[in-house]
Amino acid sequence: MNGVKDTILSVDRLTVRFDASPPLLKRLVTGAGRRTVHAVEEVEFEVARGSTFALVGESGCGKSTIARAIAGIQRPSGGSVSFMGVDIAGFRTRHAAMPYRRNLQMIFQDPYASLNPRWRVGRIIAEPILTHGLMTRGAALTARVAELLETVGLSPGDTAKFPHQFSGGQRQRISIARALAANPAFVVCDEPTSALDVSVQAQILNLMRRLQRERGLTYLLISHNLAVVAHMADDMGVMYLGRLVEQGDAGQILGRPLHPYTRLLLDTVPDPRAPKRDRARLAGEVPSPLAPPTGCAFHPRCPLANARCARERPLPIRVEAALVACHAVEEGRLPSRPPAAQQSFATSGDAA
C-alpha cells in the first residue's frame, strides 16, 4: 500500500453493544444483572477506493454487525463510520441520506430472504433506480433493467419471473443486479457465496471480480471462508470476539501471518490441494461475547499467552504492511512458523 491512498470508507473505533438483559421484572425477582453483548469493540480500518477489503472470522465474531453499521442499519454504541468523507451519523433525515445510500449497496448470504418473493424480477431491479430518482418509468428504464440482467449473466426475458423460479446462484445474480442498479461506488457483500455450491460460488466470484474491474467498484467482503478471502481480497482484517486482531495487506497476512489466532485459523482450514497435511489445531471454543476475557480476548486459547496477556489488552502495532494486536509480537517472542505451515503458505504473497 504505497503512495497516496484514496480512502472511500473509514471506520473509527466502531463499537456495537446489544442489551441482552432479562426483562426488568425477572431481574428484580431473580436478582440477575444486566447483560451486554460485546458484538463489536473499537474496530478501526480503512478501505481504499477500487479495492476489496475482506473481514474474516468465525461465526459470532461481529462481521455482520459491522456490515450493518456501515450500511446505516445498525446504530453504533460508539465510534463512527465515514463514507466518501462524510460521517454517516450526520444523515438524520431520509432525504439527506439518499446520495450516500445510492453509493452504498448490500448483497446478503441468502438471496431468497432479501428478495421480495411477490415482486417480479423486473420490479426488484427497477426499484432502487426509481427510489433514487435516477430514471422514471418507461422504455429507458426497461432497457436499463434488461442491460443489468445481461451484465450479471441472466436474460432480459427473466424480468417477468418471480425469485422462486430461479436457482440459488441465479438468485444471487439477481441480488447483484439490484445492488448495481443505482450505480454504486461501494458494495458490502455479507457472505455472498456461503449458501452456494462451489461451482456456483466460482461463477459468482468471477462475476464479482469482472464487475469490479469494469466499474471500479469497491467491496467490503465478509466471509468465514479463508479461501474465498484469499482469492478476492487486497486487504483483510481478521476478527476475534468483536475485535480486529490483525489487518493489512492480504498477501502478507496469508503468507506470513503474525497473530497466533490468524496462524491457527489458517492452519485449521482444510485444503483439498494439500490432503492430510500436518497442522496445528485451535483448541477450545470461542468464549461468550457476554463476558469477553480480560486482557487479550484470545488469551484462554493462545499457546503463547503469558500473565500480561491475561491482564492487559494488546494494542495494534505495525509490522510491515500489517497491524497486529498481540503482546507476543510486540515482545518479539513469536516463534517462526512450523515448517509444514511455512511451506503451504509461503507462496501466496508472491503470486499476488
Binding site: E58, S199, L254, L265, T268, P270, P272, R273
Partner: protein, 326 residues
C-alpha cells in the same frame, strides 16, 4: 479382503404427482472394514439419498427400485423394520448435520446414552452409566459425569456434535454413516470433530461413509472418494490421487472451481450451467451438456465405468477403445 458394505446397482425412485423420478441410479461401491469412504458432490447429487438407503430409512415418496445392499456379506435391504432397527445403532450408526436430529431435546444426555446402550447391549444401568461417562470423556466433553445430567440445549453446537459421536460409537458399530457432520460448524470446531471422528474410527477399526459437499473435508479424512453427479457415481478412487489428478471432467471442473489459498490472481475455472434435477433427466452422460470435452456418443449413450490410473471413472473419454483410436 471382502467388503464390509457392498452396494450394487442401487436405484432410488421418487413417486410424486403420478410421476416417477430417479433420484439415484446404478450406484455401486464398497467400503472395507475400517475404511473411510468420502462421498462428495453438490447439493441434490443424491448423497443423502444413498446414505439413507443404506440405513434403511428411505421414506415415501422415495423407495428403492433396484439393486442390493450387503452388510458383512448379508443382504440388508430386504430386512424387515424390526431387524433393520436392531442393526441400526448396533452395527450401523448415523451422524447427521444437525445434532438435534439424533438428540431428543427433552431427555438428558445421560438418559439418551444409557437408553441406546441398554437397548443394544446387555448391561446393567450402572454399567451403562459408567460406559456413557467414559464415552463423553473420550469425545472431549469436560466434566463428563456432571454433563450426563445436561440437556442438549445447554451445550454449544460443537459440544452437541461431540455427544452425537459418543452416541454413535456407544455400541461399537462397525459402520458409521455420517451425513455432513461438520457442515454447520465453524472451521476450528469442524477440525476438532473430524480429528475426533478419525481417531475414534482408527482406534476401533470402524468404517465410515462420510457424506459431504466439501472437498476440504474429503482431503482431511477420507481414504477413498466417491464423486456423485446427478444421482450417479462418476469417479471413485484413492483420495490423494483423485484430488491431485482427477480423471472425470466433472471432478476436474469441481477442483478448479475451488479458490486456491496459494494462487490468488487466477480466474476460477467455471463449469457452465447447473446440475440437472431428477425431474429433468439428461440422456447419455448426465454431465455432457456442461462438459467441454463431450464426444458425440456422450449425448446418447450412458458411459460405462472404466479404470483410469487408480480410479474407476464413468466417462467415455476413459474408454481404452476410444483412447487407442484417438
Amino acid at each position: 479382503m471382502s467388503a464390509l458394505l457392498k452396494v450394487e446397482g442401487l436405484r432410488v425412485e421418487i413417486a410424486r404427482r403420478g410421476r416417477v423420478m430417479t433420484a439415484i441410479d446404478d450406484v455401486s461401491f464398497e467400503i472395507a472394514a475400517g475404511e473411510i469412504l468420502g462421498v462428495v458432490g453438490e447439493s441434490g447429487a443424491g448423497k443423502s439419498v444413498t446414505g439413507t438407503a443404506v440405513l434403511g430409512l428411505l421414506e415415501r415418496p422415495a423407495f428403492q427400485a433396484a439393486g442390493r445392499i450387503l452388510f458383512d456379506g448379508r443382504r440388508i435391504d430386504t430386512l424387515d423394520e424390526d431387524a433393520m432397527r436392531a442393526l441400526r445403532g448396533r452395527e450401523i450408526a448415523a451422524v447427521f448435520q444437525d445434532p438435534l436430529t439424533s438428540l431428543d431435546p427433552l431427555m438428558t444426555i445421560g438418559d439418551q446414552l444409557t437408553e441406546t446402550i441398554r437397548t443394544h447391549l446387555d448391561l446393567t444401568q450402572a454399567e451403562a452409566v459408567e460406559r456413557a461417562a467414559r464415552l463423553l470423556a473420550e469425545v472431549g466433553i469436560p466434566a463428563p459425569r456432571e454433563r450426563l445430567a445436561s440437556y442438549p440445549h445447554e451445550m454449544s453446537g460443537g459440544m452437541r456434535q461431540r455427544v452425537v459421536l459418543a452416541l454413535a460409537f456407544s455400541c461399537e458399530p462397525r459402520l458409521i454413516i455420517a451425513d455432513e457432520p461438520t457442515t454447520a460448524l465453524d472451521v476450528s470446531i469442524q477440525a476438532q470433530i473430524l480429528d475426533l471422528l478419525r481417531a475414534m474410527c482408527r482406534e476401533r477399526g470402524t468404517a465410515v461413509m462420510l457424506v459431504t459437499h466439501d472437498m476440504g473435508v474429503i482431503a482431511e479424512v477420507a481414504d477413498r472418494v466417491a464423486v456423485m453427479y446427478a444421482g450417479r457415481l462418476v469417479e471413485v478412487g484413492p483420495t490423494q490421487s483423485l484430488l491431485a489428478e482427477a480423471a472425470h471432467p466433472y471432478t476436474r471442473g469441481l477442483m478448479g472451481s475451488i479458490p486456491d489459498m496459494h494462487r490468488r490472481d487466477v480466474e476460477l475455472a467455471q463449469i457452465p450451467g447447473s446440475m440437472p434435477r431428477p425431474d429433468a433427466p439428461v440422456p447419455g452422460c448426465a454431465f455432457h451438456p456442461r462438459c467441454g470435452q463431450a464426444l458425440p456418443r456422450c449425448a446418447v449413450e450412458r458411459p460405462l465405468t472404466f479404470t483410469a490410473g487408480a480410479s474407476e471413472v464413468a466417462c467415455w473419454l476413459a474408454d481404452p477403445a476410444a483412447r487407442s483410436a484417438a
